[in-house]
Symmetry: C2
């Protein structure tokens, strides 16, 4: 047994994963790959998405309801808040609402940025609410980094519309339409990043790291990596959070290096507050495998 | 007095206007221009937007709550549902929930399409939920028209992001950035319309009319008019609904031809379920004048 074994959870234990919408499935995918023996209860609060445009008070209330569902009704013993907006605005409220350890995505993302950056200056792209919370800036500042944040509200709908077809470096576009669609997405990314890097230069920053501060953005990673200045590191907060979860809840070291991407369907229960069909359809794209049957749940909203 | 006077309402009466988000302000603007002596109570259910991606059951529940607030607490004697999705999916539920006349946007839009089309074939662009309801297709079919509908989920976020700067035929772009942003929006519109017109041709339709089946889309009208085939008429359901409201609730004929775009602020009370600051900021863009103070209201969601 390694010395990390004392924090490992037995295989039968349940990790609750909460997201406001579909993006959090990128975190779930990364978690499942690293913790193949854990049981996952996942809830997407799809009736009330997107959280990115809502106030702190509303987000805290909604997120606490989902957290309580995962702990009280699904027996989750650990929670991962796979949503940047809820992590930024409601982590305290969630921690107060449930008696189990809660891990958000902001701190792991900032920690990965600290490990990656040499200049100490980082850029963060996220939803409007995450940016307005300045949670990444605070988490970066606590690590001696300077962070410049920018909201990119068009990126989530572009991902949900699937205009990312040519994103994979390996894949050529299947059709002329998908090529044109991916070009639009690439141009939107270029406009946002041009604005952000110009602002960074105006502030005298020398950023060498870009944090993807929204769980939808990993699906745009290939397009984003082509758009950033040469040498800039791109940090995926979904991956960073999964790695932090392994450190907190995970198995011993010998298993860490053999991530499995397949897992028995019985180990994963998916819930949504609305549109289970849409969840199954979009969820499969994010999870890179079928979600299985998604169960409808009413949180009283 | 004209013969329409019997349906006119005295100036002090209150028209309730409900929207899920900000788009409905285009309908409010058109209503205020035509009914300058009416009193308006307006509610934006911003805590739970967008409706376009939600299920019929959820939309009906949310919309009924807003309708009851307008009637019971604000004394509205008529309701205008300035939201295509709620009109498409929840008009029956709203009519059951309140004891006053209710006007949606679908029927006026379809009626305007009937008046405009010579071929009898029309195109409709709208949100995903509106399209899936096939409410426009049904309303068109009832008028002897054939309608082909398509969801355009990126257009609402593009409007809300303000990437429409060069839209006005009168306005040159203020900056290079806004020019590039408007080009992205124009390209998104081109891609959607190319797909829609190709599908229409494949079905043997000869459309000569395009219905803007979402209250956000009037802000894209100049860009859309440049993108449609020559000779195609563009129908704005916000305008069509305001005209129908005037016929139902409006003053006598002599006043109809002198719309006023200014009105005393006391005649308009705006409520929102979240983000009143965002409502005031975005609302002003849609309304083309300041919204005044927006009051926060909790509908229990």
């Amino acid at each position: 047994m390694s010395d990390t074994a004392k924090t490992a959870i037995p295989p039968a234990h349940t990790i609750g994963v909460f997201v406001s919408g579909f993006g959090g499935l990128t975190v779930l995918r990364a978690l499942v790959a690293r913790l193949p023996d854990a049981r996952f209860a996942f809830i997407g609060d799809t009736a009330r998405l997107p959280y990115g445009s809502k106030s702190r008070r509303t987000i805290a209330r909604y997120a606490a309801q989902s957290a309580q569902f995962l702990v009280r009704e699904q027996g989750a013993e650990f929670l991962v808040i796979a949503c940047n907006t809820a992590s930024a605005l409601a982590l305290d409220a969630i921690q107060e609402a449930v008696p189990v350890p809660v891990l958000g995505v902001i701190e792991p993302g900032a920690e990965a940025a600290r490990a990656a950056s040499r200049t100490g200056d980082v850029l963060v792209i996220a939803t409007d609410a995450t940016v307005q919370s300045h949670a990444y800036a605070a988490a970066c500042r606590a690590r001696g980094l300077r962070a410049l944040e920018m909201a990119c509200p068009l990126l989530v709908p572009l991902v949900e519309e699937g205009w990312t077809t040519c994103g994979g470096a390996e894949a050529a576009c299947a059709t002329r339409e998908s090529s044109q669609q991916a070009k639009v997405t690439a141009e939107v990314i270029r406009i946002y990043l041009a604005e952000l890097t110009a602002e960074a230069a105006a502030q005298g920053l020398k950023p060498d790291t870009l944090v993807l501060g929204c769980t939808h953005y990993p699906l745009l990673r290939p397009l984003i990596e082509r758009a950033v200045p040469a040498g800039m590191r791109v940090i995926d907060s979904a991956e960073a959070t999964a790695e932090a979860a392994v450190r907190l809840f995970g198995p011993h070291d010998s298993e860490k290096d053999s991530p499995k991407t397949q897992f028995p369907p019985t180990q994963l229960r998916c819930f949504a507050t609305d549109s289970v069909e849409k969840f199954e359809r979009l969820g499969s794209r994010f999870l890179n495998q079928p979600t299985g049957k998604v169960e409808l749940v009413d949180l009283g909203g």
